[in-house]
C-alpha cells in the first residue's frame, strides 16, 4: 500500500464554513514521499483552509469538507479526529506560531510528544534531536515561550511538531512577521529536516520567491481554486507567476499603478 503513489493526495475537496461560505471550490494536490511542495497564493486564496482541511482542524472553526477526499498513505484522513491525524504522522504548524505562552520552551516541546504516548527515553531522544536542529532553544529551554523572540517562537512551533515524529509537516506561513535573515535560517532548517529526517513538507506561503527556492513543486491557489501547478523551476519562469507573484514583467519592473489597471486573465473555465 505504502511505497508507491504519493504520500498525500487531496482529491477535489470543497470546503464550506458556517454552512454558507464556500472557500475551496475543488482543490486537488499531491505531495510525494520526501517532497517539499509549495502552496502559493495571496491573502484569502484558501491556503490555510487547505492545510486545515488536511489536518482536520477545520471542524474547530466550523468549517467542513463537503466534497472530495484527503488520503494519506492510501488511508482517508477526512473522517478522523485531529489527534488521530497527528498519530498517523501528519502535523500542522499553524500560522502565527501559536506557542503555549505560559509554558516554558521545553514544556512546549514536550506537549508535542503527548499524542505519540511515548516512553520517557524516546521522548528524551526526540528532545535532543530538536535541540540539535535548534540550538538556540536549548539555551532558552527554561524561559516562558511568551517572552522569547518571534523567530524562536517559530522554532518552538516547528520543534514541537517534530516531537510527534511526523512524516508530513504542514507549514502555514512560517515566514510571517520575521526578519529576512531569520526566515532564511528557518527555511534552511526545514530543508535539513527534509533531507536528514525524511520529513515531507507542504508549505503554504505568500512569499512566492522564497517558497519556490525551497520547494520542488508548487501549486498556485486563487479564489479557492488551483489555477496553476508545476515544478518549482518551471513556475519561477512562468510569465504570469513572474508578473503577479514575483513582481517582475519582462525587462522592467511593473509599477503598482500599471498592475492595478491590468485585468487578470482567468485561467480556469468557470
Amino acid at each position: 500500500m505504502a511505497g508507491d503513489g504519493p504520500l498525500l493526495r487531496v482529491n477535489n475537496i470543497e470546503v464550506i464554513y458556517d454552512h454558507v461560505i464556500l472557500v475551496l471550490k475543488g482543490v486537488s494536490l499531491e505531495v510525494a514521499r520526501g517532497g517539499i511542495v509549495a502552496l502559493l497564493g495571496g491573502n484569502g486564496a484558501g491556503k490555510s483552509t487547505t492545510l486545515k482541511a488536511i489536518s482536520n482542524l477545520l471542524k474547530a472553526e466550523r468549517g467542513q469538507v463537503t466534497k472530495g477526499t484527503v488520503e494519506f498513505e492510501g488511508e482517508r484522513l477526512d473522517r478522523l479526529m485531529p489527534h488521530q491525524v497527528v498519530r498517523r504522522g501528519v502535523i500542522q504548524v499553524m500560522e502565527g506560531r501559536h506557542c503555549f505562552e505560559h509554558l516554558t520552551v521545553e514544556d512546549n516541546l514536550l506537549t508535542g510528544a503527548f499524542a505519540r504516548r511515548a516512553g520517557r527515553t524516546s521522548v528524551g531522544e526526540d528532545l535532543d534531536r530538536v535541540y540539535h536542529y535548534f540550538p538556540s532553544l536549548k539555551r532558552r529551554r527554561r524561559s516562558l515561550a511568551g517572552y522569547i523572540s518571534g523567530g524562536e517562537q517559530q522554532m518552538v512551533a516547528i520543534g514541537r511538531a517534530l516531537m510527534s515524529r511526523p512524516k508530513l509537516m504542514l507549514l502555514d506561513e512560517p515566514s510571517m512577521g520575521l526578519a529576512p535573515q531569520l526566515v532564511e535560517e528557518i527555511f534552511a532548517i526545514v530543508d535539513r529536516l527534509n533531507a536528514e529526517q525524511g520529513v515531507s513538507v507542504l508549505l503554504a506561503e505568500q512569499n512566492t520567491n522564497l517558497a519556490l527556492r525551497h520547494a520542488r513543486y508548487g501549486y498556485i491557489l486563487e479564489n479557492g481554486r488551483i489555477v496553476l501547478d508545476g515544478p518549482a523551476q518551471a513556475l519561477r519562469e512562468n510569465a504570469d507567476v513572474k508578473e503577479f507573484y514575483l513582481g517582475l514583467a519582462g525587462e522592467r519592473r511593473l509599477s503598482y499603478r500599471e498592475g492595478k489597471h491590468y485585468k487578470r486573465r482567468k485561467r480556469w473555465l468557470a
Binding site: I91, F100, H102, D107, L110, G112
Partner: protein
Amino acid sequence: MHFLYTVLIDPFVQIAGDPRFFVEVLTGGLLTGVMYSLVALGFVIIYKASRVFNFAQGTMVLFAALMLVGQMEMGAPAWLALGTTCGVMVGLAFAVERLVLRPMVNQSEIILFMATLGISFFLEGLGQLMWGGDVHTLELGIPSGPLTLGGILVNKLDLVGAAVAGLLVTALALFFRWTSVGRVLRAVADDHQAALSVGVPLKVVWVIVWTMAGLVALVAGIMWGSSLGVQFSLSLVALKALPVLILGGFTSVPGAIVGGLIVGATEKVGEVFWGPALGGAVENWFAYLLALIFLLFRPQGLFGERIIERV
C-alpha cells in the same frame, strides 16, 4: 466622632487587650477559609483547562454530598457509598462532555457559562428528586468538637478540613507541574487550537478536568456536609468561593488556598471586632467588598497568570 472611634480605635484596643482571643478568632477564620478553598479548587481546575467558569461547582458539592449521605441513610456502609459516589462523579464528567461540551464546541465563553448554569439547575433538581429536600446529617466518623491547642480553642473538624485541603492542593499542584497530563492541561488552558494541532485529544481533557473537579467537589461536600449538615444551602457556599477566586486568581491552585485564607480570616475578624460598630453581619458581605477592591486594582488576582503582552 463616636462612630469613628468605634470603627478606627476601639477594635484595636480590644485586640490589644485580649490577644489570645484575637488569635482564636483568627485561627477559626483561617480554618473556615480553607474550607472555602476546597470549593474554589474545583472552579480553578475547570477554568484553568477550559476557560469555562463552571457555575455548577457549588451544586456538584451538594450533589456529591447528597449521593453519599443518601446511600448511607439507606444502610450502605461508608466505603461502598464513597465508591459509588466517586463512580457517579466520573459518570457525570463523561455525561457533561458528551451532552454539553461537545455540542457546544467553539461557542463563546459566556455561552458555555450559561450551559453550566443549566447543569447546575439540573443537578440541583436531580439530587432533590432522588434524596428529598430535608437536611441530612453526615456522620463519617470525622472527629469534631472543641480542642485546646496551646491555650487556643479550635474545632477538630476544621483542623481535619485544613489537613485534607492542604494535601489536596499539594497533590494538584504537583500534578499540574510535573506530570505529562498536567502539562497538557496547562497547554490546553493556554491555546485550544494549538493543543488540537499538536494532537491533544480535547474530549479526553474535558473528561479528566470534570472528573477532577467532581472528586474535589465530593471532598468539599464531605467536609461542609459534616459541619453544616447536607442541605440545599450547601450549594450557596459556592458563592463564597467567588471572592476567593477573585483574590487568588482563577487559574492558580495555590491562589485558591491563599485567597480562601484571606477571605476566611478577614471576614471572621471583621465580624467579631468591627461587627458591633457596623451593625453586625459583616461576615456576609466583607468578602465581596474585598473582591471588589481586588477587581479594581489587581484583576488577575494574587497568583493569576501573568498577562503576557508583546509590543
